[in-house]
């Protein structure tokens, strides 16, 4: 019989209850400590802890059910009184507590949390005052006591909640708390850290819905239906005053020092080394590759530089290996020529995307040979390499061993005639090349023979203990994405096996050992060493970065398929070499980006590739924005043309661009280009506090590399700004009395300062747009630095009298026709691909026919059922509201009829799209019977 397993995590208040009950009842059960984000219960989409895996295989994920279960197993039946308390705890106390803790611990509020708890606590106090027994339900401690004690424990820790004033509650709480079981469990969960211990846990929880009373008071003040969840936050007096103080801080116009190469770690600074997975050289990168590593790392690097970190961002092309040899043969060039050609292509694509590497190198350099061979010898000397013979296919006519990709034959499982040496395209199973039936050399079509060849293996099992020790430390102290942790864990769970590090190839780093002459290192051993050699090509003092774990923090960016090589294999090489190497501290892995719900495929010409993006005429910044907006964090995402147009038109044009442009235009039109005087009123203070809060969030998110979430903060700020302008109507007030004119001035000046803040926050995402805004507004260079210091400071950087430059629109609309034609162009086979497609083997034709990616004929469109998309509908609803505001504003300004007409047409189009997204038919057309 399997033993029961209880999964708990540190700093999770619910674990307090189950651990105390477990101790108290003495039930036999395995306790496993896991991370907050560990998905234990297979059917729940959000990680939920604690969880109990029962012997029968079932899972309990309700804390109270687990506690009750332990009690029942130990022989205490539940009764109606304790049931009633448990239900009250789950439905009344918990929601209030979650809210209170969030307010107190995450937002640092002082009065609101106590208010949130008022009602349930006074009920508890009354009940406890009236009771006649020592504990809630009896003279002895029961399950209800532990559950309520555990729930209230964090509230008692947090002084602001004034729990001490509730006499009966306090007496009862202390009576339960002195039980050794309770003391022990609180030590395990809180580790004596107080409420701070909860931070990590609370961060991972969804923001609780604001209390009802708050929401009402807020909506009545603004009354806009476009309110997003986040802006439901209400600012307290203290927050508003604090925001106003920050606003008035003087800024010294000190500029950030120029980057001076070589950048080297410095004592007393935060030294950050960023790598992006090295793109493989034999192909043009597609959008998925770009967002997966180089672009994500670029945003983080730009952010870090703005924050004043001493930071080095390196990357380069990975050039050795079979695939390059293959490509060279295809194109009739030497491998080196292929590398040179594609390295240049990669370089220019990344330049176009404005990826700001400190150095972009390559792996085919003498430095690579030197460092790889050094690591090899160190591993060899320390006994971490083992010899073994491997059976391989050799083509006698080509005089070489055949890598997996150079063999084709009949699949041993499904008898598909064109299976590749590593995998069958038909049944998808992995194949060992020597098992292929009727194998053929792909180059000369001769039948290869099986030969054995001697190879070297990295002894991973011998390094496993060492690796696990390091992993535990790195994962618990650094920021690792969930997928990175899970993939690594599953590798370790399956047990490590020795891995072959040599290959019978020519295009690679030569193995220096005389017994293995003529062989090269296998790419996965060699490629990550590229990070080191590329740095070495950047500076001779590369070891200051790479042999300096005490001073350097290393961030690796990659897509999830690359994780095991960075978390298991490469660290083992470095640990085994025992040379004080810098190992990864933070590992950021993305999921996959699909293309219009299918995969990017170079051979089928599906998708947008790096070199084509600029041919679309859409600016690099917009590409960056949309890719980052979509960034596959947590789950796969899909690139869609229609969505890109929508995001461009609704978020960039109507929200962000509209706000910044209006703010600048007011200064030029109403105040002759000079920023007017600000007289802060309550409304401004509230706005400053809201904006300050979003800025704080932005910094918190980006510090944790949550790039997509931070982008939302930017859009929230401009949304607040648009609303602020909308409510105050400076274009009307400017024509009014003196007081009105002063209001118009204040609104304009605050808005234009928000635009400066936005330019700072946008820099990592849209560097060109950011620069344009700063030039248009003539923003002082020192402002960026101070705004991103510490927790973030929204200061006034354009003071009264400051003269701005010429203001012009930042974004252009993406028209439907334009998008449709792009969609057609990139949807399937393309003209420039024809040549290669002629050469394509029937294998590809087969897969093409098998997948349902044929371009839909226009006539088929009305047949497709209307598919509701609530997410899109929500976004469209926001866009409709936004556009509605715009139309109203224009009408209020008495703009020209033609202008209003155009905007109204836009509004109608948006409404139509919204109806479609809601699954409604926008026009009453003759309903066709749907096909079954």
């Amino acid at each position: 019989m399997q033993i029961m397993k209880l999964f708990v995590s540190e700093g999770n208040p619910h674990c307090l209850k189950v651990l105390a009950v477990l101790e108290l009842t003495g039930v036999k059960c395995d306790v496993q400590h896991v991370n907050h984000e560990e998905k234990v219960v297979p059917f729940l989409s959000r990680p939920t802890l604690p969880a109990l895996h029962l012997r029968g295989g079932l899972y309990l994920f309700s804390t109270n059910a687990i506690c009750q279960y332990f009690y029942e197993v130990s022989g205490t039946e539940s009764n109606k009184q304790s049931n009633q308390w448990l239900e009250w705890e789950a439905t009344e106390l918990q929601p209030a507590l979650t809210r209170a803790l969030h307010l107190a611990v995450m937002q640092g509020k002082t009065t609101d949390p106590a208010k949130a708890l008022e009602a349930p606590l006074s009920f508890l106090e009354q009940s406890l005052t009236k009771r006649t027994t020592a504990f809630l339900t009896a003279e002895t401690v029961g399950v209800a006591d532990i559950v309520l004690w555990g729930a209230l424990y964090p509230a008692f820790l947090e002084n602001g909640l004034k729990m001490g004033e509730l006499q009966s509650t306090k007496t009862w709480f202390d009576r339960v708390g002195v039980l050794p079981a309770c003391e022990a469990s609180s030590r395990i969960v809180f580790k004596g850290k107080g409420v701070e211990a909860l931070k990590g846990y609370l961060q991972k929880q969804p923001v609780p819905h604001g209390s009802q009373a708050h929401r009402d008071s807020h909506t009545s003040s603004s009354g806009s239906p476009t309110e997003t969840e986040d802006s439901d936050r209400v600012m307290t007096e203290e927050e508003m005053e604090a925001a106003a103080q920050i606003w008035n801080q003087r800024i010294d116009c000190q500029t950030r020092p120029e980057r001076k190469h070589p950048i080297l770690p410095e004592e007393g600074k935060r030294n950050v080394l960023i790598t992006s997975a090295l793109p493989y050289v034999n192909n043009v990168p597609h959008l998925g590759n770009i967002i997966g590593c180089v672009l994500s790392a670029d945003v983080f690097a730009r952010y870090g530089r703005q924050r004043g970190w001493n930071l080095l961002y390196i990357c380069g092309t990975d050039e050795y290996g079979t695939a390059t040899e293959n490509k060279a043969r295809e194109e009739g060039l030497t491998p080196q020529e292929i590398c040179d050609k594609y390295h240049t292509i990669h370089d220019s694509i990344y330049k176009w995307f404005q990826i700001d590497f400190d150095f972009f190198g390559r792996t085919t350099t003498p430095r690579q040979t030197e460092i790889s061979q050094n690591i090899f010898w160190r591993l060899h000397e320390r006994g971490f390499l083992i010899e073994d013979t491997v059976e391989q296919l050799r083509c006698e006519s080509c005089q070489r061993f055949l890598a997996d990709r150079f063999v084709e034959g009949v699949c041993p499982f499904c008898y598909y005639p064109e299976a590749r040496g590593d995998q069958c395209d038909k049944c998808g199973r992995l194949i060992n090349a020597v098992e292929l039936k009727e194998p053929q050399c792909k180059v000369c079509k001769q039948t290869p023979v099986i030969r054995s060849s001697k190879h070297l293996f990295l002894d991973l099992p011998k390094l496993e203990a060492n690796l696990e020790q390091w992993l535990d430390r790195s994962v618990s102290t650094g920021d690792w994405t969930t997928n990175a942790r899970n993939i690594t864990r599953s590798w370790l769970r399956d047990g490590l096996k020795p891995r072959c590090i040599t290959r019978d190839l020519r295009w690679g780093t030569p193995v220096p050992h005389p017994d293995f002459a003529g062989k090269v290192f296998y790419v996965w051993f060699d490629a990550p060493i590229g990070y080191l050699s590329i740095t070495a090509n950047y500076t001779d003092q590369w070891e200051k970065w790479w042999k300096n774990p005490q001073q350097v923090e290393l961030y690796n960016f990659m897509a999830k398929d690359n994780v095991p090589f960075h978390t298991v294999v490469f660290p083992c090489s470095l640990l085994g070499a025992q040379d004080n190497y810098t190992l990864v501290n933070h590992l950021i892995a993305t999921e996959y980006l699909n293309y219009e719900d299918t995969k990017f495929s170079k051979s089928r010409g599906v998708g947008v590739f790096g070199d084509m993006a600029k041919d679309t005429g859409i600016p690099s910044d917009v590409w960056r924005f949309y890719l980052l907006y979509l960034r596959p964090e947590g789950q796969d995402a899909a690139f869609s043309w229609a969505d890109m147009a929508l995001k461009n038109n609704s978020e960039l044009l109507n929200n962000l661009g509209n706000f910044i442009n209006r703010a600048g235009m007011f200064v030029s039109k109403f105040f002759e280009g000079c920023v007017p005087q600000v007289v802060l009123q309550v409304e401004e203070k509230r706005l400053l506090a809201q904006v300050g809060w979003e800025l704080k969030q932005y910094i918190q998110f980006l510090d944790k590399v949550r790039i997509r979430d931070a982008l939302k903060c930017i859009l929230n700020i401009s949304r607040h700004g648009n609303q602020y302008i909308q409510v105050n109507e400076p274009w009307k007030k400017i024509k009014g009395c003196d007081a009105d004119r002063q209001r118009a001035g204040t609104v304009t000046a605050v808005s234009v300062n928000m635009a400066v803040l936005l330019s700072v926050m946008l820099e990592p995402y849209m560097p060109t747009v950011s620069e344009t805004i700063r030039t248009q507004l003539q923003a002082p260079p020192g402002s960026a630095h101070i705004m991103l210091q510490g927790e973030g400071n929204f200061v006034c950087s354009l003071s009264a009298g400051h003269r701005i430059g010429t203001v012009s629109p930042l974004f252009q609309k993406l028209e439907t026709e334009q998008i449709e034609s792009l969609k057609k162009r990139f949807g399937g086979q393309q003209p420039e691909e024809e040549e290669t497609s002629k050469k394509q083997t029937p294998t590809i034709a087969q897969t093409n026919a098998a997948t349902k990616t044929s371009v839909p004929a226009p006539a088929a469109a009305p047949e497709t059922p209307i598919k509701a998309d609530p997410e899109l509908a929500k976004q469209l609803a926001a866009a409709v509201a936004e556009q509605g505001d715009k139309v109203r504003a224009l009408k209020a300004q008495k703009a020209e009829k033609a202008v209003i007409g155009a905007e109204v047409a836009k509004l109608l189009e948006l409404k139509k799209q919204m109806a479609l997204a809601e699954g409604k038919n926008p026009e009453p057309s003759p309903q066709k019977g749907k096909k079954k």
Partner: protein
């Protein structure tokens, strides 16, 4: 709402004599009136009590493990389903759908009071689902349809139409 649900539950349990109920608070939490002492508060607590009075302990689970599972879903009903916002509904349906993939009833192979109570709670949600979503949450829909046809469960609620053949066969799911 909760009161009608309790009266349906009484019928399902075969209790002859109807009890007296009231509600308390903003959330209209049901209270079972009692002649001796204070009433019993809370839907789950009352439902559990009624089941015991009806001498149907099997409906609370036949083993300690099963009883825990039943309590867990009852709590889920009142704590998660009751006070959730729109976005949560999707997660709830998705999770239930995964959970019910290999189950006939919430506790496995036989009915417990978790089933009718979850059915009552989900009814308004399922009523609002589009045909396509009903197909997306196929296992929830199957279980729901089974519950509304289970003798003595539906009572106060209108039946929800569930198509037996799939319309959107080409869907991704």
């Amino acid at each position: 709402m909760a009161l009608r649900e309790l009266s349906s539950l009484e019928k399902f349990l075969g209790l002859k004599k109807p009890n007296k109920y009231s509600t308390q608070g903003d959330r209209k939490v049901p209270v079972l009136q009692s002649n001796s002492g204070p009433g019993l508060v809370g839907l789950v607590t009352i439902a559990t009590q009624l089941t015991q009075e009806a001498k149907r302990p099997d409906l609370l689970g036949k083993s300690a493990e099963e009883r825990a599972v039943v309590q867990q879903w009852l709590e889920y009903r009142v704590a998660r389903l009751e006070c959730c916002v729109k976005e949560d509904i999707k997660t709830i349906l998705k999770d239930l759908n995964t959970y019910l993939e290999d189950k006939v009833y919430l506790a496995g192979n036989h009915i417990t009071i978790a089933d009718p109570l979850m059915y009552y709670g989900l009814h308004p949600v399922i009523m609002d689902l589009a045909v396509m979503d009903k197909e997306k949450y196929l296992n929830v829909t199957r279980w729901f349809d089974h519950m509304q046809h289970y003798p003595g469960v539906r009572h106060h609620l209108p039946p929800v139409v569930v198509l037996r053949n799939r319309v959107y066969t080409s869907g991704h799911h």
